[in-house]
């Protein structure tokens, strides 16, 4: 791994963090969680970026990124005294497959147009399905990845907002 690629990974994480903060504030998160959301988004997205280079498919890479976000969110949520999804859901938003969704719409419109010659239409139809399925599967992989830690440790995940005894005592 050379230094240029390392820089790319860091930049990818940085821009993912900015994107996560912006999309998070739409949902009015508690202020103290915003830096952690940025950190989680950077880690998850940079991880996906690195895995895409190996190369791993975008669905598997998104799953891995989301899974690491879900695990770290469980760790931080206890310290911040907030539900894990308040940290992890906004951190997922930069990984939502917007570009594939856009291409699905674009190729569908091009496919429906009367001006498109028939020999191009079959390529467009393939593109519609390729982009559409990628959108669907990446989206599901993101959510299942981030939920898996919660479903694995329900006892931990469901008591995040409970104050621990020592804190109550003082």
């Amino acid at each position: 791994m050379n230094s240029a690629f390392l820089l790319d990974i860091v930049l990818d994480g940085l821009f993912a963090a900015i994107a996560a903060v912006g999309f998070a504030v739409i949902s009015n998160p508690p202020r103290r969680t915003i830096p952690y959301t940025a950190l989680l988004a950077a880690i998850g997205h940079a991880m996906r970026f690195w895995m895409l280079d190996i190369p791993v498919s975008i669905t598997a890479a998104s799953f891995a990124g989301a899974f690491s976000i879900g695990l770290l969110a469980l760790l931080f949520a206890r310290r911040l005294h907030c539900p894990a999804e308040v940290l992890s859901f906004p951190a997922l938003l930069p990984m939502i497959p917007g570009m594939y969704a856009y291409k699905t719409i674009l190729t569908t419109i091009q496919f429906m147009s009367d001006k498109t010659p028939p020999e191009e239409q079959q390529f467009l139809l393939t593109a519609v399905f390729h982009n559409g399925f990628t959108t669907l599967f990446v989206m599901s992989a993101l959510v299942i990845g981030v939920l898996l830690p919660i479903l694995m440790f329900p006892k931990v995940a469901y008591t995040m907002t409970r104050l621990l005894k020592p804190i109550v005592g003082k």
Binding site: D12, G22, S27, N28, P29, I96, Y102, I109, T161, R162
Partner: protein, 270 residues
């Protein structure tokens, strides 16, 4: 049902409250939580905890527009009440979700007099949101960074920043004026993508396509989409499907706005 109680905790509750007052507060509480985008199982657990601390049990059915809640006394099941409450869907609010969940644990671990609980609830829900201008600026920066993640250059990032600034400002203003949510999304998508297509029209930068594609992405209902899958995986399948359909309709509205501006460009140029 989600029983969060350990079997040992059967001691009588330290504070008493009438079924009517408790039921009204819990319905307010549930309607607020659902309105700010909680997933169904968290709602059920939170409500059960609060009811538990006053010696009551709850069962509830949650749909997108209404909540039906049955609440009954643990020892005397002739004390019971069932009511239906409308849900007012507002903007997503994680701060409320976080603090109202913490309140439910607080009530469960250290039972408090009912009027104190009511006071704490009112204090939480009267907290103002983040400043609209700060949100506008951060969302625009976020969408520009998003464009960079998809491989856009600095010109594309600039275009997306302006497109998002205009589109999101319009969305805030139209939402304040209580316009239909679907119409708001379609209009904002149209305006944002028209601005986003400037690069394609005048040949600015090397990645004008990326600018156009990312200009509408701030409208994607990410949290409702995630919540719908959470609900389905946790067994609240009807609630999950109705959330998914609602998010799907909003995505179709984005597509409508985007299609109109794509058609004004002429498809041959794409």
């Amino acid at each position: 049902m989600n029983r969060t109680t350990p079997a040992t905790k059967i001691a009588p509750p330290p504070y008493k409250v009438g079924v009517r007052e408790l039921s009204n507060l819990l319905l307010d509480y549930s309607s607020t939580l659902m309105g700010c985008g909680v997933h169904t199982s968290r709602l059920a657990r939170n409500v059960a905890r609060i009811a538990e601390s006053y010696g009551y049990e709850t069962e509830m059915t949650v749909f997108r527009r209404h909540i039906t809640m049955s609440i009954l006394h643990r020892e005397d099941d002739s004390i019971r009440r069932t009511s239906v409450r409308k849900i007012d869907h507002g903007p997503i609010n994680f701060e409320f979700i976080s603090r109202l969940s913490a309140l439910s644990w607080e009530a469960y671990d250290n039972p408090m007099p009912f009027d104190e609980l009511q006071r704490k609830y009112e204090a939480i829900v009267s907290k103002p949101r983040l400043s609209a201008w700060v949100v506008l600026l951060l969302v625009s920066l976020a969408n520009a960074s998003f464009c960079r993640l998809f491989g856009g250059d600095f010109v594309a990032m600039g275009i997306v920043f302006v497109a998002t600034l205009a589109g999101f400002f319009l969305r805030q203003q139209l939402t304040l004026r209580r316009m239909n949510q679907m119409a708001v999304v379609a209009i904002c998508s149209l305006i944002a993508s028209l601005i986003g297509s400037i690069g394609l029209r005048y040949g600015l930068g090397t990645t004008p396509q990326t600018a156009l594609a990312s200009s509408v992405l701030f409208l994607i209902p990410g949290v409702p989409l995630i919540n719908s899958i959470v609900d389905i995986l946790e067994g609240y399948i009807l609630a999950g499907i109705s959330r998914a359909i609602h998010a799907g309709i909003l995505i179709i509205c984005i597509a409508i706005g985007l299609s109109v501006s794509l058609l004004t460009l002429g498809l041959n140029s794409l």
